[in-house]
């Protein structure tokens, strides 16, 4: 097994035992990237070539030299007998929605293609202080707007390592692919409607959306300020716990970072599930899709192959001593996407106002008559279709004459969605759940180009993940098998506020119980060659 395919936990153990150096870990990662990644995403990339189609394209910017300096520093600390940190020497990728000082921090958009961040996001700073080695900025949907990574202005966009004709999911597509393809052990992504969990599910890795406010957002280029959550993508539950330990906790730069003590996630990991109450909800085994012609909504059951791993997980957890409670109602789940369309767009439109060509980023090179024309041309040139869609919808539903009907109503629906979780998790209530067990996505990874033009259909890929964003509760997606076509399948666990330790613990039990599964021996297609 290559060094780069080890878990982060194992890498750190080897490092501390002086059996591997940070330099060696990094070179292994860089070799893997060299083999599988192909060219990084760039603007004006031209035609996608046959060679492109054989590679993963996780990155927008590789920071190899910077990484080498970081690895060397870790090795020096070790040699000097100092503690280099919980993530010492671990190669990581950072979704390019985070500002990292001295690196192009592009949000996968033309409008920030020339922006070199003058400061580093808190979550990234914490990882670097813990000894992590940042190998590169991972590709994503433009401004995190999407569920397939296809909207990136930096092409080629990432491809699913399990099947390179398929999307990796989004918006943290590059984060998921870089972890799944063994290019890095950990990635820092963001989850606003499922953008960590859904690509994790599509790429067969672990993706954790922490409680809103658990990880500081300072330095995260904002999409939905009340929804965005930075979080880890990793190959194992233990690795996700390790990374969360490093990035969680309040910070004076973020007024919404809750002043809640950070649990010891690793200590709780092996406690098992005896006595835990885990619920199943019929509302999460149902999905709805709009009819493309009539616009009518059809509710249908999730495909059997999506439901099966969840049912199996329930059985396994029951055998391990958990109590499984069926038929937990979560009646407002189906309103998650409509409410999300409104709330996220209002916040996005406002958050994108600052991209005006005045003080950073792209400014139109065309001659302009006046400031208004400069704004229009700059934003018209700089933003792709997805940001424009979100801005315009945001302007529409927050306009004075509509805000009562749409925005205010959506906030009320959010209260209802939250109430579903409050009732399910109420320790004095009817269900008293520690966690809810659900599928992560309505389908496995779809083909590149199959959904992209249809923005509604694309958004509905998030219908099982977005309720957790509205409610703020934490959620984790865990690999649970492969479907008939060899594509990853997953299960999702959702829990009460700040219950990440409990979700990780359940996930770890599940992981251990399925350690011998045949599918775990299969590798992504891109690694089989």
């Amino acid at each position: 097994m290559e060094l780069c395919d080890l878990s982060a936990f194992e890498m750190v153990r080897l490092l501390r035992a002086r059996k591997a150096s940070a330099g060696e870990l990094l070179e292994s990662a860089l070799r893997r990237i060299d083999t599988v990644d192909g060219r990084p995403g760039t603007l004006d990339a031209g035609e996608i070539t046959a060679a492109d189609r054989q590679h993963v394209h996780s990155f927008i910017t590789l920071t190899a030299e910077r990484a080498r300096a970081q690895a060397a520093a870790v090795d020096r600390q070790l040699a000097a007998g100092e503690d280099p940190g919980l993530l010492a020497g671990v190669p990581v990728s950072i979704k390019d929605i985070f500002c990292v000082r001295g690196t192009p921090s592009t949000a996968a958009s033309r409008i920030l293609a020339n922006f070199v961040a003058p400061y580093t996001a808190v979550a990234v700073e914490r990882m670097e202080k813990a000894g992590a080695v940042v190998v590169g900025k991972a590709n994503l949907d433009e401004f995190t707007y999407g569920s397939s990574n296809e909207s990136s202005a930096f092409q080629p966009s990432p491809r699913n390592p399990w099947d390179l004709t398929r999307v990796p999911g989004g918006s943290s597509g590059g984060s998921a692919t870089s972890v799944a393809a063994g290019e890095v052990a950990l990635s820092l992504g963001t989850d606003t409607a499922g953008s960590i969990r859904q690509p994790a599910a599509f790429c067969g890795v672990v993706g954790l959306k922490p409680t809103y406010g658990r990880v500081p957002r300072y330095g995260l280029i904002a999409f939905g300020s009340s929804l965005d959550c930075p979080g880890p993508l990793a190959r194992t539950v233990t690795d996700a716990a390790l990374m969360l330990q490093v990035i969680a906790g309040p910070d004076p730069h973020d007024s919404t970072a809750a002043a809640v003590l950070v649990d010891d996630y690793l200590a709780a990991l092996e406690r098992g599930v005896k006595g835990l109450r885990i619920g199943l909800s019929p509302d999460y085994f149902q999905i709805s899709f709009p009819d493309p012609l009539t616009g009518e909504y059809h509710a249908q059951l999730v495909p059997a192959e999506i439901e099966a791993p969840v049912r199996r997980a329930a059985q396994l957890l029951r055998e391990l001593g958990a109590e499984i409670i069926e038929d937990v109602p979560m009646p407002n789940t189906r309103y998650g996407i409509p409410a999300y369309f409104v709330i996220s767009r209002v916040e996005a439109a406002s958050n994108l106002h600052r991209f005006d060509g005045v003080k950073y980023g792209h400014r139109t090179a065309q001659p302009v008559r006046d400031l208004t024309e400069m704004y229009r041309k700059t934003r018209g040139e700089g933003f792709g279709a997805q940001p424009k869609l979100r801005i315009l919808m945001g302007m529409y539903v927050s306009a004075a004459q509509y805000s009562e009907q749409y925005y205010r109503r959506a906030l009320q629906v959010r209260t209802l969605i939250r109430q579903d979780f409050d009732e399910a998790f109420d320790p004095n209530g009817k269900y008293r759940l520690n966690a809810l067990l659900t599928p992560t996505t309505p389908t496995p990874a779809f083909e590149l180009g199959a959904v992209y033009g249809d923005s509604v259909l694309m958004q509905y890929a998030d219908q099982l993940t977005v309720p957790a964003n509205h409610a703020g509760v934490p959620g984790i997606s865990i690999p649970a098998g492969l479907d008939g076509q060899g594509l990853p399948l997953s299960i999702q666990l959702l829990g009460p506020d700040f219950s990440e330790a409990s979700l990780l613990r359940i996930g770890r039990s599940y992981e251990q119980a399925t350690a011998g599964d045949a599918w775990r021996t299969h590798k992504p297609a891109v690694l089989r060659a």
Partner: protein
């Protein structure tokens, strides 16, 4: 001749004198700084930044709200006001829309004509300032130094009726802001900015007609003049049968004219929504109480007390409550003196105030402390020194910082009341002034003053003048 009533409402933006900006740790005051030097990622609206509320802003806003008799809300919320402007880096201003820190309130304006105008307050909220733009041959120069400076916006009800009242509102407000220590309120430096809303109606009518908004009035005189000009213009328009339109006007200070600004085609839709990056302000009873410990007795309340209880005339009470340091000085001096407060007020308003005006300092910066002033008055009362010596002592104490008693002792300023000492000097003076003595005895009694003056001169001002006069009269008989 139709009689019109002028209806005026004022909107003021008050720059709070906190150390740092409202949402980041840059300085709140950068008046003298180089452009774009007092900035950070947060106030420049860089991608990924977040606002963090300055505690002191809440405290000063609460003091102001209390002084304006407004009701503070235990929970108040920030909202985003979205619009594009180059000096607004985020493309939205963080402000407070419907649930601001305080509601209601009023300010009473005692007018020189003898009545009091009661001005209701419609809005009182916290918001962040934008940067500055300068025009330069078809380009705009942007400076972000001022972005994020904390402001309190206050909007009055349309309760003002004359340009004098509007001026008086600003004067009283400025006084109050300095009194509370929440703003320097210097209009020249933009610490206190004002827009005026003006409409007219027939006297006796109760309806409110279309108003115009006058912006860019940078001094109290400008506010007065602009309002007068606009009221006249509106009356002319109405007399001519034309409608008043809701224009936004700009006051040209140099030419003394109003100019129509680009009219808002539609009322700008700012698409207000709750600021998701900030939590509501929690002003619980405990915190509020702690803040209000710092609420001083307000100027008008103190003014009334000075008149009714201390017995000062209105004119004096006005001056001695115009500025807090002077006012507190007066109170301390009266306390230390223990005698007739009017004596203190006389000395303060004449000699001490003159000194302050000349040097541009405030009463808190004097070395002549209230206790020392009281000492001087007590020395005069005790007869140790006379009035003139007392006035001279003011200077000496201020210059040296020594106590009055010390200086009197060191310079031997004590009044000489020794009869024989004065008597011998009197005899000396009379002996040297035969001509004047003859004239006095012939009936020119006004020469007594001259004789006393001569005695004082010889005794270097230290003689008890009344005693000297008595002795001279005796000798001249």
């Amino acid at each position: 001749m139709t009689e019109y009533e002028v209806i005026i409402g004022l909107e003021t933006h008050i720059q709070l004198n906190t150390t740092t900006k409202v949402f980041c740790s840059c300085k709140a005051d950068s008046w003298i700084d180089l452009p774009n030097s007092n900035i950070c990622p947060v106030c420049c609206g860089l991608p990924g930044v977040l606002p963090v509320l300055n505690r002191a802003v809440v405290e000063k806003a609460t003091l102001l709200a209390e002084a304006m008799h407004a009701e503070t809300r235990p929970l108040s919320y920030f909202d985003r006001k979205n619009y594009f402007y180059p000096d607004l880096p985020k493309g939205f201003q963080i402000s407070q829309f419907d649930m601001s820190i305080a509601k209601g309130g009023f300010l009473d304006l005692p007018m020189p004509q003898g009545y009091t105008r009661h001005v209701g307050i419609w809005k009182l909220h916290i918001e962040e300032d934008a940067g500055k733009t300068v025009n330069q041959h078809g380009r705009r120069l942007i400076d972000f130094n001022r972005c994020g400076v904390p402001l309190v916006e206050m909007v009055t009800a349309p309760d003002l009726r004359t340009s004098d009242e509007a001026a008086q509102y600003l004067i009283r407000l400025r006084q109050l802001l300095r009194w509370l220590g929440v703003s320097e309120a210097d209009m020249e430096k933009g610490h206190l900015r004002c827009d005026a809303n003006v409409s007219i109606r027939l006297k006796g009518s109760t309806q409110l007609n279309t108003k115009t908004e006058i912006k860019n009035v940078n001094s109290i005189d400008a506010v007065k003049n602009a309002i007068e000009k606009e009221a006249e213009r509106q009356m002319r328009e109405v007399e001519a049968g034309r409608r008043i339109e809701a224009w936004t006007l700009e006051w040209d200070e140099d030419r003394g004219v109003l100019r129509k600004m680009r009219s808002k085609e539609t009322e700008a839709d700012y698409r207000y929504f709750r600021e998701p990056d900030l939590l509501p302000i929690r002003l619980d009873a405990q915190w509020k109480q702690a803040i209000l410990q710092n609420l001083p007795e307000l100027p008008l309340v103190r003014r009334r007390r000075f008149v009714e209880q201390v017995g000062l005339p209105e004119y004096d009470a006005d001056i001695l409550t115009s500025e807090r340091n002077l006012s507190d000085y007066f109170e301390s001096a009266v306390l230390a003196y223990g005698g007739d407060p009017k004596k203190v007020s006389n000395w303060l308003m004449n000699d001490v105030l003159r000194k302050l005006n000349e040097s541009g300092r405030d009463a808190g910066q004097l070395r002549l402390t209230p206790a020392y002033l009281a000492d001087i008055l007590k020395l005069i009362d005790a007869g140790t020194i006379n009035n003139n010596t007392g006035k001279a002592l003011l200077e000496k104490v201020e210059a040296s910082g020594k106590t009055p008693a010390q200086i009197v002792a060191e310079e031997g300023l004590a009044k000489v009341s020794d009869d024989s000492a004065i008597r011998s000097v009197c005899q000396e003076v009379l002996a040297e002034s035969a001509k004047e003595v003859a004239a006095y005895r012939a009936g020119k009694l006004t020469l007594m003053g001259w004789f006393v003056g001569q005695v004082m001169k010889k005794m270097r001002g230290k003689a008890d003048a009344a005693l000297a006069r008595g002795i001279l009269e005796e000798l001249l008989q």
